[in-house]
């Protein structure tokens, strides 16, 4: 009974959350664009799609509250009780790396990046070179997210101030931008945004908040957040570094 009630409440929230998108699309279609929909997009299909989105959002958020959030926090607490920082850092790395390496958005961006880079002549213009570049880029981004979660977890342990570290990261990004090949700059900046997937974000947030509440002297608000911030800056740095130092190696390896 309780579950059904909370699901109904969440359904109401999901409807509210989706309403603005529907209004924006409706306004533009009816008032601004004023063109009939193409045959491939039937109104019924669109309505069905929206229904799926609402159902999906409702189940996803409820599922997070039941499963991912409590498990993430209890795992964080268990690591603190166990007192083994090495295992915790290993876990942090595995989580960052494992959730990024198969991320569909990253695969799409990496493939597009392969085409851009080969057209601009930085690597050989062949599909083999493009694929190998895309794969290397994916690995580098996944490695960077793993490193980012490790650094973020270390920060929670030591209580280092987040803003100084992130601003330091920005400064490094700006300096590297000056040195990196121009074609890679846009790709590098965007790779920071695509890494944080819908499942990773809640889990990593629960991990950070759980750690900050389990470790004495840490404030969940001040220390619990920030892991995602590292995961957005670190890939930029890694990809720019790769553009400066690693590009030649990939080009040599495939020729």
């Amino acid at each position: 009974m309780n579950v059904i009630h909370s699901l109904a409440l969440q359904l109401k929230n999901s409807l509210r959350d989706l309403l603005p998108v529907v209004l924006v699309i409706g306004f533009f279609q009816i008032i601004v664009i004023r063109q009939p929909l193409p045959d491939t997009l039937a109104l019924l299909d669109l309505a069905l799609g929206l229904l799926f989105v609402v159902i999906g959002l409702t189940l996803f958020i409820k599922g997070l509250e039941l499963g991912l959030f409590p498990l993430g926090e209890s795992l964080a607490r268990a690591f603190v009780q166990k007192g083994s920082v090495t295992w915790l850092l290993l876990f942090a790395f595995a989580l960052g790396f494992g959730s990024t390496v198969a991320e569909p958005a990253l695969i799409a961006v990496a493939a597009r990046a392969g085409v851009v880079v080969s057209e601009s002549g930085l690597i050989e213009n062949s599909s083999l070179a493009q694929t190998s570049f895309a794969f290397t880029l994916r690995m580098i981004v996944a490695l960077s997210v793993g490193t980012a979660v490790v650094v973020g977890v270390l920060r929670i342990f030591k209580g280092w101030p987040l803003h100084l570290m992130i601003i330091g990261g920005y400064v490094i990004v700006l300096l590297l931008t000056l040195l990196a090949p121009a074609e890679l700059v846009g790709i590098a900046y965007d790779s920071g945004g695509v890494t944080t997937s819908t499942i990773t974000v809640p889990l990593v947030t629960a991990l950070g908040v759980g750690l900050a509440s389990a470790i004495k002297g840490r404030n969940p608000m001040l220390d619990g957040f920030g892991l995602i911030a590292f995961a957005s800056v670190m890939p930029i740095i890694f990809v720019l570094l790769f553009g400066i130092f690693g590009l030649g190696l990939v080009a040599e390896g495939t020729s």
Binding site: I33, G49, G63, A102, G192, T196
Partner: protein, 271 residues
């Protein structure tokens, strides 16, 4: 058929994470999971929910967003110009309005942002309203995307914009209440995961291919980067406004502050 592939793909995405979590739980921590059934049902709901969500996006929102992006940037839709003349950037006003509104509205429906805002509301003890936080992020996102669209129309280098946004972030960081900073930095990263990226990408691509002299491949990139930076600025702005308002209240009723506002005050005093 399509449905099965989506469910399968989502399972493949979730699997590594589940494997890592359960692997560490049973091999390293070696303790049974509390309320195992509840957690398992939760994971099942996450999987089914995410699959339905993605299925719905692919069926309704993405084709719609792509269609509208290409319609709004097509020469038939834009005001007529004389042969050979250059289009003024303001001709694309509907594109900017679309970028702003679609950016804001899709951010409101972004699942990972909802997740982070729930957590933030929980641990802030009520000083942060989850929905207001999401509104602040949505505003920043909308502004970042609009600026990105304008940049593509003007053909200006991305670096200037990122540099400018970084400077704003640094200035804001120095002036905001300390307790909001980590959350603000996080909200930059969470906004671009599921709904927004494909629609922004379609808009960027449509713009870059309809404007002479822009390459779809080169100029299409970069919108996501700006969309990640501006939420940081608006969330800190929201905290500054909240702090300013709470600083005004205690002057009227100095002894009635709750413990939550007291700790908030303590934070601001520490600055």
């Amino acid at each position: 058929m399509n449905m099965l592939t989506t469910f399968w793909d989502t399972l493949r995405d979730i699997f590594p994470i589940v494997a890592i979590i359960f692997g560490f739980q049973y091999l390293v921590i070696r303790k049974p999971i509390k309320h195992f059934l509840k957690v398992a049902i939760g994971f099942l709901m996450v999987w089914v929910g995410l699959s339905f969500f993605l299925l719905g996006l692919e069926q309704a929102l993405f084709p719609m967003g792509e269609l509208m992006a290409s319609q709004l940037t097509s020469p038939d839709f834009l005001p007529a110009i004389t042969e050979g003349a250059h289009r003024h950037w303001s001709d694309y006003y509907w594109v900017y309005i679309f970028a702003f509104t679609i950016g804001a509205s899709t951010t409101i429906a972004e699942p990972s942002l909802i997740a982070v805002s729930i957590k933030a509301g929980e641990i802030s003890g009520g000083t942060i309203n989850p929905f207001t936080l999401r509104l602040a992020v949505a505003l920043g996102m909308a502004f970042g995307i609009t600026l990105g669209a304008w940049r593509i129309v003007m053909g200006l280098p991305l670096q200037w914009f990122v540099l400018g946004a970084y400077c704003l972030v640094i200035v804001q960081t120095l002036r905001s209440p300390k307790s909001i900073i980590p959350l603000a930095f996080d909200s930059g990263g969470v906004t671009t995961s599921t709904i927004t990226v494909p629609i922004i990408a379609a808009l960027g691509l449509g713009l870059a291919s309809s404007i002479p002299g822009r390459s779809a491949l080169m100029d299409g990139f970069g919108m996501i980067a700006l969309a990640c930076l501006f939420p940081i600025i608006t969330v800190m702005g929201y905290a500054q406004i909240a702090q300013w308002r709470s600083n005004r209240k205690p002057q009227k009723e100095p002894f009635l502050g709750t413990s939550a506002t007291k700790s908030h005050q303590g934070d601001t005093n520490a600055l």
